[in-house]
Symmetry: C2
DNA sequence: GTCGGTGCAAAATATTTGCATTGTG
DNA sequence: CACAATGCAAATATTTTGCACCGAC
């Protein structure tokens, strides 16, 4: 997520109210690199706002996704949420289920949207790239 | 999926029995381009093998994924199954939920696995690339 | 005949929805 | 003080699991 205050601003621009729940979700997520589940976000938010409901957290996460403040990742098992909306891929290790960020050359993602727009005539807004493979920690012992 | 008979062969090589259920799942899936849900596969298979259970279809689909005969796609809402294991991307239209294949230059996927292996030290086995955007049919009317 | 495979039913997990209540602007 | 937003509980959807029975080899 770009910046806490930029996010607050965009929330208001969208005509939404800056409730303690929204504020807490944004603050817990900004800077997070762990690709949390909705439930992870909810339990962290609960430390700041006792009593938050999981369904409210789901609603807020979808709103932030719609506003392009976070990315919603469709990973095996469940959705995960990523405050980093810059183009990057994810490496998922089937052994330990760890999710590792993979930086990408912008040229590569341009090639992908170009290929999709040419092949389908669609207007690509964003993409999700997931690579599967044994991570270094789980890999063949040296 | 490469070929019906190649798939049967690989099933046997893996020490699995060629049951009518496995045969039907393979035959219904090979050549399919619709990215079906598990339930879609089950209902088609049911025409050939009355009484197949959904849980058996799930098990068979996972086996085929493990044997690399199909790909399991983690798309929003639910898993979908793709007999085409060659590298290609998917364009998902948020309007109509249609899923369109996007052919890719092998060089592009090589760049991606290269980036991931360099960045994380992982051994990439395969990848899933999903692009989101309004498709031509749903796009701005001319 | 053996042992893997299947069907059934129930469980587990993830996410959505409706509605009464609350609190931001 | 209006109306959006929240919390709760129940509903929905997807996928997994345990076990008794069946059938491929």
């Amino acid at each position: 997520m770009i910046d806490r205050d930029v996010a607050f601003e965009r929330i208001r621009e969208a005509g939404l109210r800056l409730t303690p729940q929204r504020r807490a979700v944004i603050e817990e997520l900004s800077g997070d690199r762990s690709h949390p589940l909705a439930e992870d976000v909810a339990s962290r938010v609960a430390m700041r706002v006792p009593g938050v409901s999981l369904s409210t957290v789901y609603k807020i996460l979808h709103e932030l996704g719609d506003l392009d403040l976070i990315r919603e990742l469709s990973l095996p098992g469940a959705m995960r949420f990523d405050p980093d909306t810059e183009s990057h891929a994810h490496l998922v290790c089937p052994e330990c289920n760890d999710i590792i960020d993979v930086p990408l050359d912008p040229a590569t993602t341009d090639v992908l949207s170009g290929a999709a727009e040419k092949a389908t005539g669609a207007d690509v807004s964003h993409m999700e790239i997931t690579l599967y493979g044994t991570c270094a920690a789980c890999g063949p012992r040296a």
